[in-house]
């Protein structure tokens, strides 16, 4: 699962780099396979991998292989990630001022900034980290955005989208009832 050599990309395909939150939502709602219908491979950092394991998703990680690939950051990239973690910890939209708690998001940002990912997409839900990633010029989406796109192109129905977001909510992800209703109604626009 750990990738060190350059990755051979399929021409025309778009790949995803993910933070921990969107992957947990995907596992909670059994949506990882759906994600790979849009992005053939999802890249994560070693910190993200550790966080997923700490949260008890080891079996799902193994089942997601080989579409889920762990990338090791260089020493320089880790330094750069620390700088992003500091920015996230000081952002007005964060509830957590501890820099070390933002290493997952910041390492995902650094991975997304690699030249081989310049046409790829970062999956990230947390508002502060999304803001910092956007400032760095990264194209991104949260997990619900992937579901909405999937529904808009007919990979899943509006009802299926709603069911998946509700499953995430039941399992602890903070998607409110109003939020789920609003996203569900967007499919019909």
């Amino acid at each position: 699962m750990m990738q060190s050599k350059p990755f051979a990309k399929i021409p025309g395909a778009t790949y995803a780099i993910s933070n921990t939150g969107p992957l947990i939502s995907a596992f909670q709602s059994d949506s990882f396979e759906l994600i790979t219908k849009i992005f053939p491979t999802v890249f994560i950092s070693t910190v993200c991998m550790d966080e997923l394991e700490e949260h008890g998703w080891k079996d799902e990680i193994q089942a997601a292989s080989p579409q889920l690939v762990v990338m090791k950051l260089t020493v320089e990239e880790k330094e750069r990630a620390l700088s992003f973690a500091r920015q996230i910890s000081q952002h007005p939209d964060t509830n957590d001022p501890v820099m070390e708690n933002h290493l997952g998001e910041s390492q995902a940002i650094v991975l997304a900034l690699r030249s081989e990912h310049k046409n790829d997409l970062l999956l990230m839900d947390e508002l502060a980290a999304r803001s910092i990633a956007k400032q760095a010029g990264i194209k991104l989406s949260g997990f619900p955005g992937v579901l909405l796109l999937a529904a808009q192109v007919g990979l899943i129905s509006a009802e299926e989208l709603k069911k998946r977001l509700e499953l995430c909510k039941e399992k602890g992800t903070h998607y409110g009832v109003k939020f789920i209703k609003q996203v569900y109604e967007m499919v019909k626009r």
């Binding site: 021409p11 025309g12 395909a13 778009t14 921990t20 939150g21 947990i24 596992f27 909670q28 849009i38 966080e51 949260h55 008890g56 998703w57 080891k58 079996d59 939209d93 964060t94 509830n95 957590d96 708690n101 997952g104 046409n119 790829d120 997409l121 839900d125 947390e126 508002l127 502060a128 999304r130 194209k139 991104l140 989406s141 949260g142 619900p144 955005g145 992937v146 909405l148 796109l149 808009q152 192109v153 399992k171 602890g172 992800t173 903070h174 998607y175 939020f179 609003q182 996203v183 967007m186």
Partner: protein
């Protein structure tokens, strides 16, 4: 039995409006990458037909066309 938990459950996440723009962003990136990989073919059509087709392009497609024309003019 393994207890499964959520990451940073109290973190502020995106609004429904953000989700709408996220889906549009994904669609735009997917479309761009597909167009980038598409091979070029020479088609013999009247210039007026081509200009008419340009009228129906969206902004992103116009930008791709602009880039293509600039490359041709620079060569």
């Amino acid at each position: 039995m393994v207890t499964k938990s959520t990451h940073e459950p109290k973190a502020k996440v995106m609004s429904a409006t953000d989700v709408w723009y996220d889906a549009r962003e994904i669609a735009s990136v997917l479309k761009h990458n597909l167009l980038e990989s598409e091979p070029m073919v020479r088609v013999q059509i009247p210039l007026s037909t081509f200009l008419n087709a340009v009228e129906n392009l969206d902004r992103e497609e116009l930008l791709i066309l602009q880039k293509h024309i600039e490359t041709r003019l620079a060569s």
